[in-house]
């Protein structure tokens, strides 16, 4: 038998603040001040990416852009330097989101929140090297995404 309580609260100001201390590929630390948290989306389904962008905007996040391939993701990350990445696993042209996430971690010190229908144990184990921020299994709603991002932001802000 399980017994659990879920407490849902709506914060007075749900807009996220920047709470990440980034480390770039050279190992230097760049502590950022308050402001919009910037998010890069890596998703090859246009309808899904559109919904994510809208949810991010609604939640007060700065969406720096959407990439649908590994190449686009690495290029966008290099130019936009987002605070975090929302990463699908299966990308356009059979590109692998897990490998892209590892590359982003190695090159730019970026961490990903995986948003995927592939959230099984084997995939999570494979993605451990990318040091993921979390997993949001598909299908998810905008409130679920924003709640997850708020939790991630809060966790990172405490570190």
């Amino acid at each position: 038998m399980i017994h659990a309580e879920i407490l849902i609260t709506t914060p007075a100001d749900p807009r996220p603040v920047r709470a990440l201390a980034q480390t770039d590929d050279k190992g230097s630390s760049d502590t950022v001040g308050p402001g919009k948290l910037s998010v890069m989306v890596v998703e090859d389904e246009w309808i899904v990416s559109m919904e994510i962008e809208a949810a991010l905007e609604e939640g007060g996040y700065d969406c720096v852009g959407v990439a649908s391939t590994a190449r686009e993701a690495l290029a966008l990350a290099g130019s936009a330097r987002p605070d975090l990445v929302l990463m699908d696993i299966r990308l356009k042209g059979n590109d692998d989101g897990v490998e892209v996430a590892k590359e982003l971690r190695n090159r730019f010190g970026l961490r990903c929140l995986f948003i995927s229908a592939h959230a099984d144990g084997a995939t999570k184990e494979r993605a451990a090297g990318a040091d993921p921020l979390g997993w949001l299994p598909k299908p998810f709603s905008a409130p679920q995404l924003l709640q997850m991002l708020a939790a991630v932001n809060s966790e990172l802000g405490q570190k």
Binding site: M1, I2, H3, A4, E5, I6, L7, I8, T9, T10, E45, I47, V48, M50, E51, A54, A55, R90, A117, H118, A119, D120, P137, K138, P139, F140, S141, A142, P143, Q144, Q147
Partner: protein, 340 residues
């Protein structure tokens, strides 16, 4: 033993027998040998009967010439009709009238000492081989089906995600509050279906899902989407729910939680208790909020929340009781016979 007697004994053997000199020259062949290889072979050489190359047979004869103990060997010989036959050889040095010879018996490979046993072994070997081939085919087929199933689950979840995206886009576009509210409810329902789909995928069982994680997952999914202040207490007995029951039950629970959020969620300290209990007669789902209770004449459209609950209860063969008991209390009972 006289020569005639020796010849008679050798002629009585089933297998071809040769007496050859160190170069393979045939000094004697028995009746079986002449029958198989022709009488003209007498005076010829054993090497004439063997397929090229000869070296292996020459080596074998040399080894036999060094011992009176029988040595095993093998050769493929051509019979009088030109057919090639594989023989197991048994050869040993012997002496006749002071001259050294090599005595060679040609045992037919297929004419085993225990023919029935050998045939059975061959039959079993063939069966094992066949079974291994079938097993390999089945394993390959199983792997393909697993990949296909994973792909189907993945596609279903992605398609549900796209549906949510389309509904949410329509929700943003409309200027009608009513339409926005209806679309939001639809998104919630699809999210509940998605949660059930994920549990079904993660479950190791092909026909059932575990009841306690199921209730928790639907409550979690609905709770996130509701967005109002509402405490949800969840109690669920452990057990198995069939997939046929799981999907409508996910939607029923989502509707009752949404209803609770609408009526009890607005007030301070609003809460709802969700219970799924297993009894002798079957399952009982209880959703009890602490809101103002049911209105005297609740809307009963088929597509409204309560209409949906009633319709899905009918699909499950479940009874539905809605009552006021310090808030709205819904009790849904359904038997285990539906879990097939």
């Amino acid at each position: 033993m006289g020569q005639d007697l020796a010849d008679a004994v050798l002629d009585a053997l089933d297998e071809p027998v040769f007496l050859v000199d160190l170069n393979g020259g045939i000094a004697f062949s028995n009746r079986a040998a002449e029958s198989l290889f022709g009488s003209a072979r007498r005076g010829g050489t054993l090497l004439d009967l063997v397929e090229q190359p000869h070296e292996a047979l020459i080596q074998y004869l040399r080894r036999c010439s060094g011992t009176a103990q029988t040595l095993p060997g093998a050769a493929t010989l051509r019979d009088v009709s030109g057919e090639l036959i594989r023989f197991r050889l048994r050869g040993a040095r012997t002496r006749m009238e002071g001259t050294p010879y090599i005595f060679v018996r040609c045992l037919h490979s297929q004419r085993d000492q225990f023919p029935a046993l050998a045939a059975k072994i061959r039959e079993l070997n063939a069966e094992i081989h066949q079974r291994r081939r079938i097993q390999a085919t089945l394993e390959e087929s199983l792997r393909n089906n697993e990949v296909l199933l994973r792909e189907l689950h993945h596609r279903v979840k992605n398609n549900l995600q796209m549906l949510i995206g389309l509904m949410a886009a329509a929700q943003r576009e409309t200027s009608s509050d009513e339409a926005r509210s209806i679309l939001e409810e639809v998104v919630q329902r699809i999210t509940a279906i998605g949660s059930f789909q994920r549990l079904m995928h993660e479950s190791q069982e092909i026909r059932t899902i575990s009841s306690a994680p199921f209730v928790q997952a639907i409550c979690d999914a609905t709770a996130t989407t509701i967005g109002d202040r509402l405490r949800i207490e969840v109690r669920a007995d452990d057990g198995e729910l069939s997939h046929e029951v799981g999907m409508p039950l996910a939607l029923i629970l989502n509707e009752l939680l949404t209803n609770a959020a609408k009526h009890a969620g607005g007030s301070i300290g609003g809460s709802v208790r969700v219970g799924l209990f297993s009894g002798d007669q079957g399952w009982e789902l209880v959703v009890h909020d602490n809101g103002p209770g049911l209105p005297p004449d609740p809307r009963n459209r088929r597509s409204s929340g309560l209409g949906l609950v009633k319709g899905l209860c009918r699909q499950l063969g479940a009874s539905l009781k809605a009552e006021n008991a310090d808030g709205a209390r819904f009790v849904i009972r359904f038997g285990r016979q539906e879990q097939t």
